[in-house]
Subunit: 467 residues, 3 copies
């Protein structure tokens, strides 16, 4: 159904040649680069049959596939259904939420396989990939999905692709600095994914500030069923977060521990979120925005420390605090950010990812600094922090310092990178919509006739038969 456009609309949102061009050029580039660089890692290559014998492996079970594939699939669901549906809460932006998230994530994982591959899996001129690379690519794209949350409804698909291209690149550089140069632990990505992704997105949305956004204010809310669709996203993120935080931990006790810590933190977070959601509303009613988002802060906030000996009660404490901080953020900070700092944060990623991400980085630094051989066991201690090779003399307190440095580096990368990328996205060539057409699928999507069509409404004799 074509609705009359407001007269103010002057922007050119015509995608017909621009979007296909970007997608096709990109895919060709990927094919060429994959052709030159990407090959199967040893455990996915048909030569593994021989390698197994050389390594004296007695069972196919030793293939990393079986250690990580179930977690990979859970992470995959989080990226595509979790983030995609979480953002369908807007009443008329469901197609854009789930569809553009699909587009940018499919675009991003290919580039992430290359970028992260060059940094971490590059051998003899080839990038050798396996299931762990797939998980890391999903992780990297996760940070883009987070940033998408800040600019949801206000950007064209081309802007999203351009942002993905740059953000994946910056993510990989930042990740390399943290994991390889600073030798920081961050298995669940409190710093690399959440802190970086969220502050990057917030910086971008600041640069793209739209002073007249109140023109589309009527579309910034939810309707009853869009809130239920969003809960699908929420629950899948919540349920699978233990897989997220444990997916790339060391085999054995570390994966096991990560899952338990995350499970505990998330459970606690639900209770404090519900408590503050009710407490901060005059009538004491619960707000779906908080339930959909702040309940997840507990997963973010143990992202760095989940694989450490945080302990179950430590996880409960971290989860409880992050639920409170996040809910308070939705009630007080988000309006403040918009009115004072001109940061328009559609999904409130500041509350769900930025602040909990910082908490996660800090908790990780403290937990690392407090580590002792007594708590971890002699071998467990070395394994947990990989205090081997040139790092064999590093002490926990030094590790804690480097962890803290990781937070600062992530923030700097996010602010500087976000400012540059925001500037690029501000160019008037990417086809974003006018302020009065934001949060509206019809700009970029063929939208079917309304729910209340003649088919099962009928009864209106004046309404035209078809859109």
């Amino acid at each position: 159904m074509e609705r009359p456009r407001h007269q103010g609309m002057a922007k050119n949102t015509y995608m017909r040649w621009r979007l296909p061009l970007v997608c096709l050029l990109w895919e060709v580039a990927m094919i060429v680069l994959f052709g030159v660089f990407v090959r199967f890692g040893p455990e996915a290559d048909a030569h593994w049959e021989e390698e197994k014998q050389e390594l004296n492996l007695t069972s196919d079970m030793e293939n990393d596939f079986y250690f990580r594939y179930p977690s990979f699939q859970d992470v995959h669901v989080m990226i595509f259904v979790g983030f995609g549906f979480l953002m369908t809460f807007l009443k008329r932006y469901g197609f854009g939420a789930v569809g553009f998230n699909f587009l940018l994530a499919a675009f991003g994982i290919q580039w992430a396989l290359l970028m992260q591959g060059w940094f971490h899996s590059f051998k003899n001129g080839k990038i050798l990939i396996g299931v762990e690379n797939l998980i890391n690519a999903d992780f990297c794209v996760g940070s883009v999905c987070i940033a998408f949350g800040a600019i949801l409804g206000k950007t064209s698909p081309i802007q999203l692709l351009v942002m993905t291209l740059f953000q994946v690149t910056l993510f990989s550089v930042n990740e390399y600095i943290l994991l390889n140069l600073l030798h920081v632990k961050d298995a669940g990505g409190s710093m690399t994914i959440h802190t970086f992704g969220a502050y990057f997105g917030l910086t971008v949305t600041r640069i793209l500030y739209r002073p007249n956004l109140e023109q589309s204010k009527d579309k910034q809310g939810s309707v009853y069923h869009s809130d239920l669709f969003a809960m699908i996203g929420t629950l899948y993120l919540w349920m699978y977060w233990p897989s997220f935080n444990s997916a790339i931990s060391e085999h054995g006790d570390a994966q096991h521990r990560s899952a338990i810590n995350t499970y505990c933190s998330l459970a606690a977070c639900v209770l404090t979120t519900m408590a503050f959601s009710s407490m901060l509303q005059k009538k004491g009613k619960l707000d779906m925005v908080h339930i959909q988002n702040a309940t997840l802060a507990g997963g973010v906030a143990v992202g760095t420390s989940a694989e450490m000996m945080l302990t179950p009660y430590g996880s409960l404490i971290v989860g409880s605090i992050s639920g409170i901080v996040s809910t308070v953020g939705y009630v007080y900070f988000t309006p403040f950010l918009e009115s004072r700092l001109h940061i328009q944060d559609t999904c409130g990623i500041h509350n769900l990812h930025a602040m909990p991400g910082l908490i996660g980085g800090i908790v990780g630094a403290i937990t690392a600094a407090a580590a002792t051989e007594d708590v971890y066991g002699k071998e467990g201690f070395i394994k947990a922090f990989d205090f081997t090779g040139v790092y064999h003399t590093r002490t926990p307190s030094v590790q804690g310092g480097f962890q803290a440095a990781g937070i600062v580096v992530s923030l700097l990368m996010a602010f500087v990178g976000g400012a540059i990328v925001g500037g690029i996205l501000k160019l008037p060539i990417w086809g974003d919509a006018a302020a009065e057409n934001c949060f509206e699928d019809e700009v970029y999507w063929e939208v079917p006739e309304d729910e209340e069509s003649d088919v099962y409404h009928m009864h209106n004799p004046d309404k035209p038969a078809s859109p």
Copy 2:
């Protein structure tokens, strides 16, 4: 949007201080108790690196995490998405269904980790937890989700939290009596989860009988899209039930067998449900209530016996019968229970959990009594029923008797416990809604403007009032 309240509304449903108080006090209690009692089990502790060597384990794969984590995640989905969305069928109670289920389950799993931990994982003053404890906590909370189905739409969140607190406690005691004192097998929880949970919930709803509930009768039905949301819940419960029944079975053939038996039982159940749904309706049309619920009875009814040598055809028989019983229950028993016994059972848990749970207990007793060394093999026989230690002389027929005793104990615990807890919930301090406001999200939730808002409706003043 605030709609004018009916004048009859006199009850105080103001949650602003009560709900936060309960949640926060509870979470503080959890943190203290976890701090005192809960630690990582050996396979999740960083000392595992050393323990592995002592136990001569050659592979990280021997960590229980890899045996159970995929099933754990499936069970987790069943509890939060399965039960949560199954209950969204009501036209105006979707937020309450999925949100309160989320709240009570997150609340309950923490308490279950403690309660079950004290009974089953307590060593040297500490509860040592691993992935199996997480599954068991989800199981325990599953019984609360079942009971929630009976009182759906008629209780305040505080009532639900109070019920969860008591029900988890009673569940753990009942489970201890069955598994440890009677030495009963019940891996899929036909008795401990379904029979106990359902009869507990039915007793509670009987005590909370609301004579004027027909005042909210117009809200007790579904709408087209709410039925589709409910099917998300149904299908996830149906698909993952093989994981549910096999999640805590012994490693190896027992887990494998449980999954197969459950798969077969559920497949058969769908066919008999469809048959009776059509047969019992005058016009021969299928009823979504049956498809959403009775198709799951096959999973409940093999909960005890799935890990035994029930055989695939035995599973088909049990599944077929339970589908019939459950569908007949929806058509004939539910109205009878309400009109004659004053049991108002919103979701029909009597049909989906209570009767199939009893069937499951009985089938389990028969299957156990019929076990022979020939069918199980000498070692398999001992392993399947854990006829070791003080139980090494127990015979199958004696085991069958104890299994039957387990049903009786579960029923008694449910009736007595449900009566007491129902009495507590009847106190006029918990903020439940008046009869005319039942099944209505607006009592406890901020509800967005209607689907048919001005945004994409545009105020056609000629539109007739109802279709």
Copy 3:
């Protein structure tokens, strides 16, 4: 709510005795046949405890359950939620889409366990089943779900059950010819599942051609929320397709490789689909039909070759092409098929399964023909194509020829089988609806009152415009 029927309706769609009769007779037959034939395979039987010792297995992890169960559950979700919800895009056929898919799949897996069991798992007069049989049964039923897509909305549940009965039989015969007689590799089923299933369904819908289908044209479209429900199906199919293609591959590197190839192909497919969806629409807007369907073609098109050394860049190429072919198909071929060839293809399975399935078969033949010992390693080469026993002299190019023959056989089986089954379904005894009642749930389902009921509308003229 009963709506007035059109006067033209003359067909008898009364299901009350026919549907129950078919379901119950069928289930009894299944119980008898399972009783005679089906037993637990060695790894699911309680005797495994002894067998383990004979085979010198040191760990329960060697049970096939742990190699395949996570993939099985993903496949299970694809069949029931993936296909079920993908088809809910129609505005008034959501119950039929998800409900009839549920019915036919539950019906089909039982028969598939028998049919495939007789061909592949028959030992000493018994069919011995394990987790791989469950996956294969799901696969077989997947081909029926595909065919269902062509006739969606135009057939009665009895017709669907009859079709399932025959199609599962034909599928099993075709699969036996391909895998056992031609010794063809097809782990992801490009030929056996997609090519066969789609051309079978297209033939059936051709035979069932309805000249007056434009009478229900107003119901053939989607509404806003039905498109979002369909995206749930799309995303679960897309995310879990790596599990689909790797589920029954050899343990170890082959499963690992299949997942990676499929992941890459699907990612590329999304980009080319988006590009062509925008390019082929006059206004450059994206079409949800393409996003919901063509994005999946990449999974179909590597179904045969994913477990081979296709390489990641090869997968990107295949995925890119299949996305283009599929999207072009939706825009140009589907209307052509309907107007010229009288093939009414409700879901466009020609574009999503038939053409990509053919591509998949061809790519598989080429990849097999191009295989060398250098690329696979000496042992890997033999293992990958199972060049053992009577096949130990087969060369890659001969294998390529047999692969191509597999495509032809699948097509022939589909056309001949589809024509016969279509003829059977044309008999006027199965209760299908008149043309004007197609795509309408009310024919076979109890449908609740409309979304816009008086309950939460009430048309309060004083209602403020926004909350």
